[in-house]
Symmetry: C2
Subunit: 353 residues, 2 copies
Amino acid sequence: MARIAVLGSGIMATALSFPASENGNEVDLIGTFLDREIIDSIQRTGVHPVLGLTVNEGVSAYQLEEAEEVIARADVVMCGVNSFGVEWAGKQLASMMRPGQKLLVVTKGMRADEDGTLHILPEVLRSYFDPDLAEQISWNAIVGPSIAGEVAVHHDTCVVFCGRDKEDVDDLADLFRTDYYHVWTSTDFVGHETGAATKNMYAFAAGFAQGLLRKAGKEDDQYVMYNYGAAVFAQGQKELRSLITMMGGKPETGDGLGGVGDMFVTSMGGRNVKAGAFVGEGIPFSEVQDRYMKEVTLEGVAAIKVIGGALERQAERGLIGPEDYPLCRFLYSVVEKDAPLEMPWDTFFQGLS
Amino acid sequence: MARIAVLGSGIMATALSFPASENGNEVDLIGTFLDREIIDSIQRTGVHPVLGLTVNEGVSAYQLEEAEEVIARADVVMCGVNSFGVEWAGKQLASMMRPGQKLLVVTKGMRADEDGTLHILPEVLRSYFDPDLAEQISWNAIVGPSIAGEVAVHHDTCVVFCGRDKEDVDDLADLFRTDYYHVWTSTDFVGHETGAATKNMYAFAAGFAQGLLRKAGKEDDQYVMYNYGAAVFAQGQKELRSLITMMGGKPETGDGLGGVGDMFVTSMGGRNVKAGAFVGEGIPFSEVQDRYMKEVTLEGVAAIKVIGGALERQAERGLIGPEDYPLCRFLYSVVEKDAPLEMPWDTFFQGLS
């Protein structure tokens, strides 16, 4: 049994409180400055208003002002903000965490230096910590195909807890593992974190076919566009695997839960797919963002900007070839340059022999 | 321009006549003994009754009696029957094909010897040929994510033509390639054919979640079971890749169009998924087959019986371990032994580290 403090009370952070609390752990959700109403609601009624569910007994909610105290008494601290909040969260956690605590990162994404060098988010968080403290913290993350609400309503879910220390990830996994929340562990930290960030980019592309059909008035036709989606998925998988390898992860991490499995679930729906569908309809991305999905968090688009931008820098430096990652780079031209949706099929599946 | 004879006039065989004829090839569809009404319909009205579309000019339909003459004059012969007809097709083609012709196999599946040795279908077809003739035929196949009707209505589709001779597959690809039918080529014949057969097994498993939801009365709930489906997909991908490797194919063939891409499209729907959904509802498979899907062609179930059965033999012989291919072997127990749907999650994702 452990005391788990969660910074961020979005749907994924809160969903994880279900298996955690059912295993007898105490879970303290801490709202960010954006989560005031969520915390209010949980404190008053027990209901998470976005998730639409009542949290379990053993789960408490706190406003940000109480973060320091709540984090200080925790055995495990989770970073449950979205990728846009990672720098903020890094500062908070760096000032509040204590030696010996375990950190478990749920946030997915990457950051790039100006020269195109990419970093996984736990590294970004760590950059805010005093080096001595950082050494005394255990760094871990959760990845894998996991729609938050499905976890919360106890539907079978298979995930990977990853980190550099096998014993630590195994201990963390034991805290969360239930008969519906199936947890594997891995020390391929960078590979799994890269896969988790990358898959969101391709989910955006997974929406294109739906938009193309809508534009053509063929959404309800007998024959839709699964072939198109499958080809995009296959190219996405190849690029995801390459990115994992390039980052120093194990290539086979691209096959499993943290790669193709996660990309599959993300392609089934959600905000990134919806944004991609608008592009499929022929709407320039800048208009999608300004008009149809204003102020909507789009993790996939954010990942395309970071990773696609970094790959441009890497290509300029000759670190990758001009023909590498053609789908990611096309997606970058769509979101950054309003490129029209002319899928560069001929550039895909290079090296097939 | 070539003269292409197609043995079998099912929906996939007929769909391929669209890109082929639009490239100026003449396409002769030959019905099997099961296709009399289809051929009748095309001859009278031009409409393929199952596909629901009018075939192009340049496409002719013939009853089986005319097969010998039609095949004799062809440059390319396609085997377009389903996997249940492969032995019959082997006998027909062996007696009708001539030296110098190219064969292009659309049929997907595998066959196993009694000792569990697996064979791709082009090998099975070849076993009916006189060895001298077989040497003078070019053996090739089409694989990749390709729902027939989508090809026929000109929706973007990406496929792989594979065979042992690079020049031959490139020539064949040129006959079919259009602005919507995108063709890559590969000499990993055994790898691609294994992937194409294997993906159908996992499509059956892709239906389970839908059935489980239906049984629970939760089909229209806010939270469905994508996590479940994604975990099954990820394990399927791992096994597909292992099977490709075991058969002597290239592991990376499991990543692309002929592996994960094809598995993705097959998991989106169709008869195998539907059969799996009945099992998800809790109906023993023997009852699904005898009552709900009587006389329906289930390529996935057929593949499970062949491949799953072969893996049992191989395990008995010590060629694979007892923990290998747990999903395939579980599916085998479902279709052959009416095992209930208790997904053996704990046996999945072995070797993650």
